[in-house]
Each structure stands twice: as C-alpha cells, then as structure tokens.
C-alpha cells in the first residue's frame, strides 16, 4: 500500500515537473475578449509611470465596453524590445504593442494594416507626416503614438557665469562656449554628449545631420561610414572629447545621466527632447532652447522621433482592437501628451495644445517638427541596425571613427541583405 502510494506520488511529481518545465502554454489566442496590451514606460519616477495612465484608460474603456477586458503590461525602455521578442518567440504574442519601432514586425507579416484597426475618422485625425512615417512600401502599419523633435537646451545661468552672450549656432561656437564654461568652472560638464546604449542612435544622428550626413542616402541605402559621418566624429573627438569639454567616456554615458545632470545644473548644454522641459523645471534650472547647431549653421531639419502603436494579427481580435484604438486615439490622446508634455500625433490634440496656452514651452518643438527628419523607420532592417548602433556606436567618440562606423556599415549591409 505504502509503496504503491509512494510510486503514485513519484509519478505525479514527475508529471508535474515535466509539465511545468515544458509548460507556459502559448496563450496568444487565449480569451477572445481580452486585449493584451504591452506598452513602454515614459515615466522617470513612480508618480508619473505610464502604468498609471494605461490602467486608467483600461478602466474607462471597460466601463463603456463591458464585454472587453484590457490586460495592461508596462515595461521599461531598456527591456521592452527584449521582452517582446521573447513573447513573440514563445508564441505569447501581445495584441497591441506600443514601443519604438515597427518595421521588423512587418517583415515577418505579424501586423494588421493601420486601416484594418482604425476607423476612417481616427485615421484622418493622424498628422499626415507621421502617418507617412508609419508606412512600409506605401502601406501604413505603424500607428504613431507620440512624437518629439530635438533642440539644444542650455543653462542660462551657466552661460551668464561663463560670459556667453548668445547660444551657439555652429559647431565652432558650441566648442567655444564649452571652453568658456570649463574655464569659468560654471558647470561640471560643459556639453553633455550621451552616446551610451540607451539612445546612441539619436545623439549620433543629431551630430551627423549637422554635417549633411545621416544613416541612409536618398535611395535608402545605408551610409553609416560616409566621409561626412567620419568627419563628424573626428571633430567631436578633437573638439569636445579630447579637450575634456564633455564626459570622459561618452560611449558609456546614457541619455538619462545627461538629462539628470542638466536638471541638476551640472551640465551647460545638451541636445534634448520635451521631457527635459519638465525635468529642468523641477530642478529649477533656468534653461533656454535653440535649434541644434550644425557645422556651418543651425540644423535646417532636426531629428524627429516618433514612437509607435501596432496591432498583431496573431490573436485575431481585429474588432476588439479597433474599438480600443478608436477610444484611445479620440478620447485619451491629449491626456498622455499632457502627462509627459509631448507634441501630439493627432490633429485635434495638436490644435488643443497649440491654442489652450498651457504649452508655450512646447512651441519650439512644434516649430521644429514641421520639417524634422526621421530614422529610416520603414526599413525592416532598421531595428537590427539601430540595435547595433546602440551597442557599439558610442565607441566612435574615442576610437578610430572610420573603423567603428565601418564595422557598423558592414553589419547594416548584412542586415539589409538579410531582410
């Protein structure tokens, strides 16, 4: 009796073990009436975590649509791409994803087209330039979520202390201002150059644009190691890094460090996006903004960044997703933009924000947004290239730029051939 019970116990245990080990059933399809939403966290502290926003959205939506549930998962920027990849690989595909890139998923035919999950009214409400940036080969898949453009922030007090009268317009003026700041010891870091993994691809492109360079040429071919880009990094090394006018190791310094330094009054100037406005205000930094300096004059078109919403086909919940997206884009858009002070991607939100007088501080960003340049977002290989740049692009600030960028170019070409 005892033996048999023990044997049965052992068998049960063994089964339990093998089940749990191979477990985790691919719940992609799961419950038809539950939308699984995965979103990135834009907050920098507990009180403004994006989870708060999404939970409220889900709650309000569920009140109006009693038959649909929204399951919210918010992941920080550093981990979201990795985690989503794991979800897709294990068959646990989300229904909606809000993150930085979409084109890689189009290459694998995972997404609904925008017009399949948006009502015509919602689609018309999107600002055309962003809707266009969501296209792969003429079909829109990426639905813009927020946008931002980059400008140069400078600390007015630091500039005054260093005796700088006007914000810099060219690279030479910028280096000159940085020198003055260093000499007068007005700030620890005269120019904050964050080329760490967090957003190396952003800072890099802002500098390359200043020299007429960029990641791709007119036909969409990668030109990461073009002569102009190499020249850009040589200039950065000779004029900012080596003279000690920026961080000693830009390649390992992340954007959040640079933003925190500026908000603490420790950095003289840096390229920033709208969330820095709030951070600077909270840090009581008297800041000014201007167009990012280029080699010979201010940038004609700055870097524009948009983050994206995308809907996955895997769960087959087209109807439910459409309902939810229409609700969010018509009723909840403005709230998100105001929460983080981001320029909106829908026309009605833009009109409200431009006219209600509460967003004067965003005006420079609205202006710059008109002719901003984007990453090659619609290129399915961009996500691989962007990940490679994040990994090693920052090394170009200290090592031979030709070698670092050449290596990236090689990887980009391989990725482009592989798509």
């Amino acid at each position: 009796m005892n033996k048999r019970a023990a044997a049965a116990g052992a068998a049960v245990l063994a089964m339990a073990l093998s089940v749990t080990a191979c477990g985790g059933d691919s719940g992609g399809s799961g419950d038809k009436n539950t939308i699984k939403l995965v979103a990135a966290d834009y907050g920098d502290k507990k009180s403004n975590a994006s989870k708060i926003y999404w939970d409220k959205v889900a709650e309000d939506f569920e009140k109006q649509n009693k038959d649909i549930k929204v399951d919210v998962q918010v992941i920080n920027w550093n981990d979201i791409d990795k985690q989503v990849k794991t979800m897709i690989q294990s068959g646990n595909v989300p229904d909606l994803l809000q993150t930085g890139g979409y084109a890689d998923k189009v290459a694998d035919d995972l997404l609904y087209k925008a017009d399949e999950v948006l009502s015509p009214a919602t689609q018309k409400n999107l600002i055309p330039s962003f809707a266009k940036a969501g296209e792969v080969d003429g079909t829109q898949y990426g639905i813009p979520w927020v946008s931002s453009s980059r400008v140069l922030f400078y600390n007015k007090e630091v500039f005054k202390e260093a005796g700088i009268k006007n914000p810099p317009k060219t690279w030479d003026e910028l280096a000159d201002a940085a020198k003055k700041i260093k000499k007068s010891k007005a700030a620890d870091t005269p120019y904050a150059l964050p080329l760490g993994p967090e957003e190396a691809q952003g800072e890099m492109m802002m500098w390359e644009l200043g020299n007429g360079g960029g990641y791709t040429d007119g036909s969409g071919k990668y030109t990461i190691d073009s002569a102009k880009n190499v020249e850009t990094f040589n200039w950065l090394q000779d004029n900012l890094v080596k003279p000690g006018l920026t961080y000693s190791n830009p390649g390992t310094t992340d954007r959040k460090t640079a933003f925190a330094d500026f908000a603490a009054g420790k950095a003289g100037m840096l390229n920033g996006h709208p969330s820095l406005v709030q951070m600077a205000k909270q840090g009581k930094v008297d800041y000014g903004v201007t167009t990012i300096p280029g080699k010979d004059g201010p940038l004609k078109s700055t870097l524009g960044v948009a983050d994206w919403m995308m809907a996955f086909k895997d769960g087959g919940k087209q109807k439910q997703i459409k309902k939810f997206l229409d609700f969010v884009y018509s009723k909840k858009m403005l709230k998100f933009d105001e929460m983080y002070n981001f320029p909106p991607v829908t026309q009605d939100a833009l009109e409200t924000m431009q006219s209600n007088g509460k967003h004067e501080d965003l005006k420079p960003f609205f202006d710059e947004l008109q002719n901003a340049k984007f990453y090659p977002l619609g290129d399915p290989s961009w996500d691989v290239v962007s990940a490679e740049i994040k990994k090693s692009g920052g090394k170009a600030a200290k090592e031979d730029p030709k070698k670092v960028l050449g290596d990236l170019q090689k990887k980009a070409e391989e990725a482009a051939a592989d798509k």
Binding site: K3, R4, A6, A7, A10, A11, L13, A14, L17, S18, A21, C22, D81, K82, V84, K85, T86, M87, I88, Q89, D104, K105, A107, D108, L110, D188, G196, P197, Y247, S248, N249, G251, T252, T253, D261, K266, D383, V384, A387, E388, K390, K391, S392, G394, K395, K398, V404, D407, K411
Partner: protein, 316 residues
C-alpha cells in the same frame, strides 16, 4: 548496472507460472521488477527536462535563422557560427575571458592561502572574523556588484570621494567607463566574492593536517618557510585543487558582476564570452545561441578537467 540485478528472479517466476494464482501475490513483486527506477525516475525526468532538453533546443536554435522580431525563418546551416567567428570583437572577447578567469582565480587562490593560514591561527576574535568573512559570500553577487558600481560612480561615488580626500587621485574618475580601469575593478569585485568559499575550503584542508607532522618537523629543526613548503602545501593539495577547479568554472561563467557594472561596454570591450552571448541576443538570437554552444563546449572541457583532476587526486 544495478538495474539489471533485481528483475531477473521476477521475470523467471512469471514466465513459468504466469497463469497460476501467483500473480496476485506478486503485485509488490511487479514493482520490484522495476528496481530503483520509480525512485530515480523523477530525477531522471527532471534532468531530461531542465538540462538535456534546453541543451538540445540551444543547439537546434544555433542552426536556425530567426528574425529580430522573433520569428523562425528556416535553417541557417552553419552561417551563425561563421557570423560569430567573424565578429570583430570575438577575438578580444575570448582573450579577455581567459585573462579574466586566470587572473581572478590566481589572485583568489593566493589571497585565500594567506587568509586560511591566518584564520587557522588562534587569536582573540577569531570567531568573529571568521563570521565576517562569510559576508561577501552571503550577500547576493548582483547586490555586491551594484553596490560597487555606485561606489565608483563618477559624480556621486563614495570611493571617488574617499580617493580624492586621500589624495590618490585629483579629480573624480569615471572608473567603469573605459575598459582599462573597469577591468581591474571588476576583477577586484570578482576576487572579493570568491574569497570566502576558497578560504573556507583551504581552511578545512589545513585543519586535516595532523599536528604531529608539524611537531616532527620542528624537532628536525625545519624553519617555518621550510615547513610550509615541505608539509603544509603538499598536504593541502586536495583542498587546493578543489578550490581551483570550482573557482575556474564559477569565474568563467561569471555574469552578474560584469553585467551589473558595465554591461560589457563600451561596445564589447569589457565582455567575457558569457556577457557577449547575452549582448548578441539583442540583434540575433541564433548567433547568441551559437556563442552559447561554444561556451557550453568550453565548460564541458573545464568539467572534464575537473573530473580528471579529482580522480587523479583519489589515486594519490
């Protein structure tokens, strides 16, 4: 081997009297026929599920072409291995892995020999200091590494402040920002967390050396260095070997220290193969799996060395 012995009587009796009334009484005998199988089956299944199956999956993955979104696009043959060996960083990552392992284990063993010797002496407060030595072992490695990362922080790090106050450096440094200064610090942390285990292993070894051997040496007039070289070290060899090999495997596989302190950056300049594998995951899962297979092969070699060494030890 032992599986074969018990079933034979049962099989024989069944073959002969299968139709008689006997089988009723044989229920427990039927179980006995399985021998120890029911008892080891859960463990075998567990090993199959959590060790063998993942290894097979891993090897399979390294021959697949997987898109960055996570979709399998078919077989890649040996392309991913070629891509891996073509990585510009691959050579120096390998080199650094070897250096990292050798230096950390070497320094750990040397320091542990001294510490074990010290703790083997009788001195007031020995009990407390022995406890204190456990602290770095008891704390999570990740926690220790994060602690050091912040202590070394460029603007707020307490170690920077202390070193400036002591006049060792004149302005705060970004220690973990470049490979040249990050490696020594990470090695320091790795040694720091490896010391307790190694010291205790050696201390245990020291305590097995009988006192009369030392007494004989003293009577023969051997000096203390002579005694150490001629008696302590040879008798300590079993404990020393165990310490070396276990540390080799631990340090080679060490991920949390490097990941928490530099994430292998800038680029892959401070990555060992384990960290490099993790970084490859961001761009190409299959290539990362290929790196894992290479890593796995290296660990197997280390384990084989361990088995060989421990057996050789027995014979001695």
């Amino acid at each position: 081997m032992s599986l074969k012995a018990p079933p034979s009587p049962a099989r024989r009796s069944r073959g002969r009297g299968g139709q008689s009334g006997r089988p009723v009484r044989r229920t427990s005998g039927g179980l006995a026929r399985l021998g120890p199988l029911p008892w080891i089956a859960p463990v075998v299944l567990l090993i199959l599920a959590v060790v063998v199956w993942p290894v097979i999956e891993l090897i399979r993955t390294s021959f697949l072409n997987i898109s960055i979104a996570g979709i399998v696009r078919g077989s890649a043959g040996t392309d991913k291995y070629k891509k891996l060996f073509d990585e510009t960083d691959f050579g120096h990552v390998l080199l650094w892995t070897v250096l990292w392992t050798v230096v950390v284990v070497g320094v750990t063993m040397l320091l542990s020999l001294c510490l074990a010797q010290l703790f083997n002496q009788n001195f007031p407060g020995r009990r407390v200091t022995r406890w204190a030595l456990i602290a770095p072992w008891a704390a999570s490695v990740l926690m220790t590494a994060i602690g050091f990362k912040w202590m070394l922080n460029r603007t707020a790090g307490v170690l920077n402040t202390v070193m400036i106050d002591l006049g060792i450096i004149d302005s705060s440094k970004d220690w973990l920002g470049s490979a040249g200064t990050a490696w020594p610090w990470m090695m320091f942390v790795a040694v720091f967390v490896s010391l307790p285990f190694t010291t205790y292993t050696l201390l245990a070894g020291l305590q097995t050396i009988p006192a009369d051997v030392y007494e004989a040496a003293r009577i023969d007039g051997a000096g203390s260095w002579q005694t150490y070289k001629g008696i302590t070290l040879p008798l300590l060899r079993p404990a020393f070997l165990v310490g070396v090999v276990i540390n080799l495997i631990n340090v080679f596989n060490s991920f949390p220290i490097i990941w928490a302190m530099t994430q292998g950056g800038p680029g892959s300049d401070t990555a060992t193969t384990t960290v490099f594998m993790y970084k490859l995951k961001e761009t190409d899962i299959a290539e990362s799996a290929a790196m894992s297979v290479v890593n796995f092969a290296m660990v197997v070699v280390l384990v084989l060395i361990f088995l060989k060494v421990s057996r050789w030890n027995e014979e001695d």
